[in-house]
Subunit: 123 residues, 2 copies
DNA sequence: GTGGATGCAAACTCTTTGCACCTTG
DNA sequence: CAAGGTGCAAAGAGTTTGCATCCAC
């Protein structure tokens, strides 16, 4: 399957260390602390592999560039801070939402995005 | 402010006629029925103006290219059909969601996206 | 008639891919 | 040592912008 390279390790560890959804560019900078001449193309290639292995999840929020985070076991949502622009995990969910749909629609999944100010920016 | 051109009219009418969120490319094809050599750049430029005027709303769903729809007066959400790939408006909302956030977070807005099969594709 | 709008093509951003070289197993 | 991974640069998709021309007011 996938070989264990310094690059792949650095990328997975950077994501795990930060513990928040990250942009490929941010991830590149973070991972370059261990592998200085890491390239952005390699970040993208490894992310793809890590996602297939279930180690990394894609976080795509409306109107935002795609971010990536270490895989979480629980269903969760995201909060986008309008001040610092960072994205935070929210481990809560309103639950069954199927009743909001018109008759005939079949609900398979849902995604909720919150916008506002994070705790750090509010303080 | 904004001049009333054949292009602008065609774009606004195409959007209103379809009554669903549309991709710029889809909108181009639809509006070209009235203005044959309409260009994609003009579609983008007019969308920007129509949005500023409050006539058109941006619909950006996670992992999807940005769509546009005629302005709706009510807060609403969107349903993305996994079969026909179209996007539908959902005029319902679970309501107050602030209690789902950790202490210190201030909620300003939220966006809910439903995924599944629309009524037409389920039938 | 004049300034804003249009069409075309080039520029930009984000992501992917081709290719020669390097590294893991 | 061979297969797969890497870095760099070029190629793609979606969107924006520069510029000469055109048209609404």
């Amino acid at each position: 399957m996938e070989r264990s390279t310094r690059q792949r390790t650095a990328i997975a560890q950077a994501l795990a260390a930060v513990g928040q959804p990250m942009l490929p560019q941010e991830l590149l900078l973070e991972a370059q602390k261990s592998v200085p001449n890491l390239s952005l193309a390699t970040v993208y290639r490894n992310l793809k592999g890590l996602i297939e292995d279930g180690v990394v999840d894609v976080v795509s929020l409306p109107g935002e560039a795609t971010r990536y985070e270490s895989h979480r076991h629980h269903h969760h949502h995201h909060f986008h801070c309008s001040s610092c622009q960072k994205v935070f995990d929210i481990d809560a969910c309103p639950g069954d939402l199927g009743h909001l749909l018109p008759p005939g629609y079949v609900l398979e999944e849902h995604q909720l995005t919150f916008y506002g100010r994070c705790a750090a920016c509010t303080a």
